[in-house]
Structure formats: structure tokens, C-alpha cells
Symmetry: C2
Subunit: 361 residues, 2 copies
């Protein structure tokens, strides 16, 4: 087991990564203010892992409420959030109770936002069961839901009390989701950690074969990179935007194709290629470097081109994105491999040309 | 104009109290990150004060979105909250925009929760137009909505960038609401500020006659008392519970009668009498002191007895209250006038007897 301290002032917490953590109630019990928890999960994860997490807690005398939601990004909305509130209220969960998210990013976002807003905030613990959730949502405290007019438009920054990332839960993860999760792992290398990128290039086969040691290392190092950035910028005003490499283009792909059609990591992979290509057009990345990015993503089995929505549609979809500031399109680009940079001087013609170049079918 | 600094670490802000502040855009403009604000108000307040606040902002080049909601506690719910989200999204309010609450406590709670959760948090400014909102919601950062299963069950702690309390807005306040607001003013004296309580007893007629100087002083001193408590306990784990004097009984009255039937301050007044009576039964308040509490509330024109719901109904309604911890009923009592105390050792028989004694018709 590896542990990582996320230093966020009074809200510091520990991420624990390793095989078999799900049953380790000893890691959770000392954090409970009251022996009352609500485990929020979904219909896919529940039959696989809910009993494994709940049984040792119950054996220790904890009152465990199970809230099992439908599975899918399309349920990350106000109606599903309200199902959690209803369950908490109907079962008289108190302010000193703890909400545990058991599942992927959608469950983490929903359960975290419920925890942030139930009785103005109760304790929250994350048990992410997808690679994406383990390397992304584990750090940063982003929680929230989608709104018909935009993704993640409603939410809160809310830190968990701890995160348990059990690599054994990845054994049941669909291949496509594993690869999508690796898109975010690669991102950390690209924006700020060249040695890690080189390690990924050298250990990609082990990661794809789900070797526990390689996964544990990749998760811990991804979280460490994210934690360093987030500690500098907890509410996303500055350097934290680096984490959005490929995400502005990626969100346009997800929205344009209808949420759930492309996985988030797949859209981010194609978006990262676009960001690399735009960086090249703006003179901060060589053609060789662009090829290196494309090659790694391709080897990972990820898309390296966006869907042909048309440049104008992309631009329209990118305009409502949260990365818009004062009417200017801020984008995360690469200033060499391993060095992300936030630029607000992007030229609309370059962006358009990039989209056209990267979205051939 | 009086100003009061609320010291909450990185989230410190200033409360400005006085006559005619509504038109003082010079107090707001330096706080805007972007010249884009959304003023959230209701159909009662809008015709009286919306133009007064919006016009000078527009004259200064600020883009002002007006979100006018129906008036009433029954609209403090998810559906109305969603109307705010819709308006913000349809008008492309950015993350650097500012939400301004113009109205009473319901508007402050709704707009504040929308600000806390729109794009995971945007700037928030409060312009409270009722006495209750000026002395209560101005400090503490409580925002939220009601849920069919409980009042204020969904919400967040979220601090404003500043508060403008314009005493001129109280000139149009219905008499009944003025008196209800004074219940909270009296509360501050009772729980921790005996000299202020004596000042209120001596200046009650001026307050009821809406003299600007008396109101300004009472608002500023109420906020100062609340700010001191909140600074000690921002997320309501300990001493902040003192602010709930009369509120556990009061919430039971509001819920039992149907929200909106009794004003919050009226329920708090009756609840304060019950808390005083229970304190007497538990030996921490004299009969003379109980009479002093009752006399002041009665002179203010407030109810000094609860509605006859029956003791068992009261107890049932009090059980889901947020003041319940670990199954025990924690109540704020008085240990002498000017000295509130949180007690978890309340005896159910005493509570029952108190309800029966204080709720005769």
C-alpha cells in the first residue's frame, strides 16, 4: 500500500492506494464521527463490491445505509441527486454521518455533491473503483452534477476525509474504461512530469495488463502530481487549469456526440492531440513531439482524432465551457513535452485549422 | 454608515450598515471580478428596490441580469433554485460573474446557494432588505433550500464578498416582519450581551418606530455578536449552536403549522419563551428572569406561547432537527439572562412539561 498526503490546509487528507483496501474497515472507522454511514453506489458496482465494503463496517457496529443508483453519466443530474437526499432524510442521517462514494466518477461527483450540501455538509469518503476516478476525482474536491444546459455546471469544491483506491477493483473494469483512464495518467506526464511520461512509455504493457504494482505506482504518481497542482490553486483560478489539457476540445466532443457516447478519457485523448497540434501551429511544440503524443495515445488504444462535427460546431460548443474568461478562449497548450502552459492569446483561425486537421474521419 | 469586519480567514468581508446604501455602486464596483452581475430578487422587492440597485451598476458599464422570483418561503425549493441556474446559464454568466441577493432571508438563501453551486462557486454579495435578513443572514454564510422532508436540509456554508444593509429598505417592511426581526435582535442580547439587551429594553420604542439611528446600531451590534460566534465556529460544530436559542422549538412550530403560517421570528420568540421556561425547570434561570424575557418579547408584539400542537407532536417534529446529535436532544438554554448554554442532558419529561406549560391557547 502506498499513501499520499494531500495538503490542503485544515482539509488535509490521505489517499491510500493498493490491492485489497476495500475490506480494510480499520482505515475508515477512526474517521467516522458517528457510527452511521451511507454508501452511495450504482447497480453495476453494487453486486461486485458493496458487500465487501459494507460487511466489515456492519460487523464493527456501524449503521450502513445503501443507496444504489442507476449507472451512467445520463443519471448525473438533479433527479438522481434528489434520490440521495431522499434516502438520507428518510433514514434520518445526521449531520455527523458520513457519505461514502463507491464507484466511478459519476458516483463520486453525485455522492460528493450530496455530502457537500446535505445539511450544509457532512463527512465524505471516496472509494473510487475506476482508474479515471482513482487518478482524477481522488484529488481536487470537485463534485457536482450536469444541467441540461451544460456539463458539471452545478457543483461544489468539497474535500473527502480520505480516499481508498483499491487496484483490485480495476480487475472488473471494462477494457475501454481502463484505456480511457490512462488518458488522464498520460496527461500528468505531458503537463508537468517528463520522467513519469517516460516511465509510462516504458511500462504501458504492464498497465494495460493490469499489473497491480504498475497500477499502484501510476495511480500514486498521478495523484501526487494533481495534489501538487491543487494545493497551489484549490479553487481553480490559475495553475490548476493545466489539468484541463485536452479538456476544452474534449468537452466539445462529449457534448457534441451526446454525453455517454464517447468516454471522458477518449474525448480527452482526442482533445490532447488537438491541443498538441495547436501548440505546434503556435510554435511551442515540434512535429516530432506531436507524433510522440499521438503514438503514445494510439498505443494505449485511444482515439487520436475527434469526430467530424465541423469546426463551427466545435467552436460553438467550446464557448460555454468554464475555461472561457472575459470572452477570451483560454486553452491549455504544451510548451514542449512535460510542460503545460495556459494561453489566452489563442488565434481563432489556428483553433479552426487545428479542429479541421484533427477531426478527419 | 457603520462598517463591521467579519474575520473569517481568507474569506473575510465587510458588512456596511446605514441609510441609502442601495444606490452606492461605489461600494460594489471594486469587488466585481467581471462587469457581469445577476441580481436575484422577488416580485415584492423588485418594484421597490431593483432599479435603485441596478441603475447605477448599469451606468457604470456592468451587464446586469435580473432574476425575479415569486415571493414566499414555499418557493425556497429545488424548482426555484433551478430557475436561477437556468437564468445564469441562458445568459452565459461566467465563473467570474457575481450573484447579488436583493431581498429577505429566502432570497438570500436561494441566491447564496445558487452562487455557492453555480460552476462550483461564483462571487456572492448580499443586499438584505428585511430586518431578519440584516441581523441574521448577513453573517455566517448559511445558504440553502428546503426539502419536502425538512427545512434547510440542502445547502452550503458560503461567505459573501460584502453585505450592504440599507436601513431605508426597512421603511416598507410590514410591521409584523419588523417585529419578527426584533426577535433575533433580542436573542443576541439574551445569549451573550446583557448590555445590549438592556439597550434594547430602553430603546424598543425607537426600534418599533424605525428610527434609522437605533436600527443601524441594533443591526451592527447584532451582526458583531453573530460574527464573533461564527468566527469561533464557522461550520457549526460547537459554540455556534448558541445562535439556535429558541430555534429547535421554533422549527417545530413552523413545521407543525406549515411553513409560512408563523413567521420565523414569531416561532423563535415562542421558542425562546419555552427555552427560558425549560431553563427555569432545570434550575438555571429564575422566575423573575423568565418574566423579563416574556415581557420584552410581549412588548415587541411577539407571541409568547406556542400553538397547541400537543407535546408529542412537538417532540416528533424536534427529532429530525439538525440539533440532534447521536440521538440526544441538544438544546440551547439560558444560564441567566445574557448567557446562553448548550445542554445535551435535557430530560424528556422536563421538555414535555415545558411544552405543555407554554402552549396553552
Amino acid at each position: 500500500m502506498r499513501t499520499l498526503d494531500v495538503a490542503l490546509g485544515e482539509r488535509a487528507y490521505t489517499i491510500q492506494v493498493g490491492a485489497g483496501l476495500l475490506g480494510r474497515s480499520d482505515l475508515l472507522l477512526p474517521l467516522l464521527k458517528l457510527p452511521q454511514v451511507a454508501i452511495v453506489t450504482n447497480t453495476t458496482v453494487a453486486p461486485l463490491y458493496l458487500a465487501k465494503l459494507a460487511a466489515p463496517l456492519r460487523a464493527a457496529g456501524v449503521q450502513v445505509l445503501e443507496v444504489v443508483l442507476p449507472d451512467g453519466e445520463q443519471y448525473k443530474n438533479a433527479a438522481t441527486l434528489n434520490r440521495i437526499y431522499d434516502a438520507l432524510l428518510e433514514n434520518r442521517c445526521e449531520r455527523a454521518a458520513t457519505v461514502i462514494a463507491l464507484g466511478g466518477g459519476v458516483i463520486g461527483d453525485l455522492a460528493g455533491f450530496a455530502a457537500a450540501t446535505y445539511q450544509r455538509g457532512v463527512s465524505f469518503i471516496q472509494v473510487p473503483t475506476t482508474l479515471l476516478a482513482q487518478v482524477d476525482s481522488s484529488v481536487g474536491g470537485k463534485t457536482g452534477i450536469n444541467h441540461p444546459l451544460g456539463k458539471n455546471m452545478i457543483g461544489a469544491f468539497y474535500q473527502p476525509r480520505t480516499v481508498l483506491a483499491d487496484t483490485e477493483t480495476l480487475n472488473t473494469l471494462p477494457e475501454r474504461e481502463l484505456r480511457a483512464g490512462l488518458a488522464e495518467v498520460i496527461k500528468y506526464g505531458l503537463i508537468r512530469d517528463l520522467p513519469f511520461l517516460e516511465w509510462i512509455e516504458g511500462h504501458l504493457d504492464e498497465l494495460l495488463a493490469r499489473k497491480a504494482d504498475a497500477l499502484t505506482y501510476a495511480i500514486e504518481r498521478s495523484c501526487a502530481n494533481k495534489a501538487e497542482i491543487v494545493a497551489l490553486d484549490e479553487t481553480e483560478c490559475g495553475v490548476r487549469a493545466l489539468l484541463n489539457l485536452g479538456h476544452t476540445f474534449g468537452h466539445a466532443i462529449e457534448a457534441g456526440m451526446g454525453y455517454g457516447s464517447w468516454l471522458h478519457g477518449e474525448a480527452v485523448a482526442a482533445g490532447t492531440v488537438m491541443a498538441a497540434e495547436l501548440s505546434r501551429r503556435m510554435g511551442s511544440l515540434t512535429e516530432v513531439d506531436v507524433k510522440r503524443v499521438v503514438d503514445l495515445l494510439r498505443r494505449t488504444g485511444l482515439p487520436v482524432a475527434g469526430p467530424p462535427l465541423g469546426a463551427e460546431r466545435y467552436l460553438a460548443l467550446m464557448a460555454l465551457d468554464k475555461k472561457v474568461s472575459a470572452g477570451k478562449l483560454r486553452l491549455v497548450l504544451l510548451d514542449g513535452i512535460g510542460r503545460g502552459v495556459i494561453r489566452a492569446d489563442t488565434n481563432l483561425n489556428d483553433v479552426r485549422a487545428t479542429i479541421e486537421a484533427c477531426c478527419h474521419v
